[in-house]
């Protein structure tokens, strides 16, 4: 990818955004659910990191922790660091947090219809951030809102600025949300399942738009999704999550070519491919674990075809494989060799 690095804005040795050993738990009446168990990843300017996982894997909670919008209670950050330009967001004051939120790191949500306020026109909602945070006058905010709607390719932006969310189609609503997120010119955009609620032809439009915007504005993007197909097209690196841990981390091409964790391998084998008419689909047996009772050792061991006694007893560390990728599996090398075959 030809992206100009911005060394001036990032400390020479640090990353733009870095998570270090993050732990989040939900304290509920039934017990404590360990939702995130030591997640570490980093993001540099201009790059796209995909966080892939099924429901309950902790991928959205990680994003909420970065944004500082966890529901507390029940959610508590137990330990870890979230470093933005070297500064820990978790130890800062709420006011410092607010300076980062929206302005430095912005987020778009899955369901645009429930994320937008139904009783205000979209132009007003896009302009709200500008008035509150950038101190713009109403007229300026309105003009900037039209520019933003043009930027996300909403046709006839000037005419539609007074329309309400229900007057837009699903794809157009998602564009409005993207415009809102871009209002303060953030350096990092977190997209939480941005196309899950959309049809395929519209999904393709939105993914193209996000890729264009990321390139033109030189943003870094975290794309959270469960869809292995969507990821393949846009991401530079992928982090696969399972039971609140990153089980595999690799660049896109090597991950799809030869997954090195049995969970990733199982996922890739269980999706029907449109370009291949398959026989019976291979499946991952069993169910994702209950986060209140995560299995001992490797959390994937009850479902894993490679399971040995060591998997039940010992939590696997991130095994660094030759080409700069990691896999949290005792048998990572073996799994990768099997997949490459």
């Amino acid at each position: 990818m030809t992206v100009e690095p911005t060394p001036a804005s990032t400390p020479a040795d640090g990353h733009l955004l870095e998570l270090r050993d993050l732990h989040v738990e939900f304290r509920t009446n039934e017990g404590v659910a360990r939702v995130i168990n030591g997640v570490s990843y980093h993001l540099d300017a201009g790059e796209t990191l995909a966080v892939l996982g099924e429901s309950g894997s902790g991928k959205s909670v990680t994003a909420q922790a970065i944004m500082g919008i966890l529901d507390t209670p029940p959610a508590f950050v137990r330990s870890g660091q979230i470093l933005y330009r070297g500064q820990d967001l978790l130890t800062g004051s709420e006011e410092q947090r607010r300076q980062v939120r929206g302005k430095e790191i912005a987020m778009i949500f899955q369901d645009a219809l429930s994320a937008l306020n139904p009783v205000f026109p979209v132009g007003w909602q896009i302009g709200e951030t500008l008035r509150q945070r950038a101190g713009m006058s109403r007229g300026d905010a309105r003009r900037r809102a039209i520019e933003l709607m043009d930027l996300v390719k909403i046709p006839g932006a000037a005419k539609r600025i007074g329309d309400y969310p229900h007057q837009f189609s699903g794809g157009m609503r998602q564009r409005v949300m993207i415009a809102m997120a871009l209002a303060l010119d953030p350096k990092v955009l977190i997209a939480d399942e941005p196309t899950t609620a959309l049809d395929v032809t519209v999904q393709a439009q939105i993914m193209d738009l996000l890729a264009d915007l990321r390139r033109d504005l030189n943003m870094a993007m975290i794309l959270i999704t469960h869809d292995l197909g969507v990821v393949a097209g846009v991401a530079d690196r992928i982090a696969v999550m399972y039971a609140g841990r990153i089980v595999e981390h690799a660049d896109v091409r090597s991950l799809y070519k030869a997954p090195a964790h049995p969970y990733t391998k199982g996922l890739l084998e269980s999706i029907p491919r449109m370009d291949v008419r398959g026989q019976e689909l291979s499946t991952i047996k069993g169910l994702p674990p209950n986060l209140m009772r995560i299995p001992s050792g490797c959390p994937f061991h009850p479902r894993c075809p490679y399971v040995q006694q060591v998997c039940v007893d010992v939590v696997p560390h991130d095994l660094v494989l030759g080409d700069g990728r990691t896999s949290a599996c005792h048998f990572a090398q073996e799994v990768r060799d099997d997949s490459a075959r």
């Binding site: 049809d199 395929v200 032809t201 439009q205 993914m207 799809y256 269980s270 029907p272 370009d275 689909l281």
Partner: protein, 345 residues
């Protein structure tokens, strides 16, 4: 569980035939004196045949009428016009005991396993409820045994008969929904987006189960979905819908390898392929705009407003889904022609 009594019937013969089915929902205005000012043309002249033992996939984007079609076939809606016959008997004229007999033969699996199961009923009651309406399907005293058999067939533990839906995961709930649909030993099952609410690793388990049940009981499926990869995997034939009409219908191979309708081609090219290498070689068609409102569809060909091939004739003349010169399967386009829809695998 034994196969349905129909095992002697010929595989491949037509079991369900749908002819020019139309459903318009009226739009009315006024409080006291309501008058109709228009209609949402949800299903606008759909014809197809379903053969015994086959799976007909129905694909299309939201609002194309695929779920309304399912509801019409289940007689949950009354059609505006059109005919459908199940084993030669008219679905929409039947009433009373004849309708009850027909319904026994056609069951449905719903999309959302969280809302389609009553949270206050046990699994045994949910799966056993069809037997209360059709007491002859399970002789007196054998109901519990039948329900346990059904649980076993769909891969659930028969001892869990007294549990409630919330004690099961999404994939297990969908299995309960499938067991309920199987209870009366139907020959046709309408599956309305049966796996779209499930996680990837669970989705594969349910698809395999549906295929295995089809082989075991000789079922015919109408499989409605928006996920083209899933449909290709499970379907023998595929119908593509756009704004209430079938724009193209053919075998799985004809639709996925030799599509001639521009909408089908665009739809196929938009599906994300989970392989970065293939992705780079793909020749994508980018459709502009959104699907028009079914209350006010474009004249002539419904797709012409988003079509790059549209010409004068497309606005005037409504193209029929008939075999075209480019390929002998029905395609509703004046300018039907082949295009490599997916790259060589």
């Amino acid at each position: 569980m034994t196969a349905p009594a129909s095992s002697t019937k010929v595989r491949g013969e037509t079991i369900l035939s749908v002819d020019n089915l139309v459903k318009h929902f009226p739009i009315s205005q006024g409080v006291l004196f309501q008058r109709q000012i228009g209609a949402v043309k949800a299903v606008d002249g759909v014809s197809f045949e379903l053969r015994r033992g086959e799976t007909l996939g129905v694909v299309g984007e939201s609002g194309c009428g695929k779920s309304t079609l399912a509801r019409l076939l289940m007689r949950l809606e009354t059609p505006t016009s059109g005919r459908a016959t199940l084993e030669g008997k008219d679905l929409f004229k039947a009433s009373g005991s004849e309708l009850r007999r027909l319904r026994r033969n056609m069951q449905m699996v719903m999309q959302d396993p969280y809302t389609s199961l009553n949270p206050r009923m046990t699994v045994g009651d949910i799966i056993g409820e069809p037997f209360e309406i059709h007491p002859d399907a399970a002789p007196k005293g054998s109901k519990q045994k039948r329900v346990q058999e059904l649980l076993d067939v769909v891969g659930l533990n028969p001892e869990h008969i007294n549990r409630y839906p919330h004690q099961f995961s999404g994939g297990q709930r969908q299995r309960i929904g499938i067991a309920r649909a199987l209870a009366l030993r139907p020959e046709v099952i309408v599956c309305d987006e049966p796996v779209s609410a499930l996680d990837v690793s669970i989705q594969a388990q349910v698809i395999n189960l549906l295929e295995q049940l089809q082989d075991e009981f000789g079922l015919s499926y109408i499989f409605i979905a928006h996920d083209l990869s899933v449909v290709r995997h499970i379907a023998d034939r595929v119908a593509v819908m756009y704004l209430g009409r079938i724009v193209e219908i053919g075998t799985e191979d004809e639709i996925y390898e030799r599509a001639t309708h521009p909408y089908t081609q665009a739809l196929l090219s938009a599906v994300p392929v989970p392989d970065p290498e293939v992705r780079d070689q793909r020749n994508m068609i980018r459709l502009v705009g959104d699907v028009p409102s079914p209350a006010d569809p474009p004249s002539g060909c419904h797709f012409r407003t988003r079509c790059w091939k549209a010409q004068g004739i497309c606005a005037k003349e409504d193209p029929q889904a008939v075999p075209r010169a480019a390929d002998p399967h029905p395609s509703a386009c004046h300018f039907a022609e082949l295009r490599p829809a997916t790259p060589a695998a």
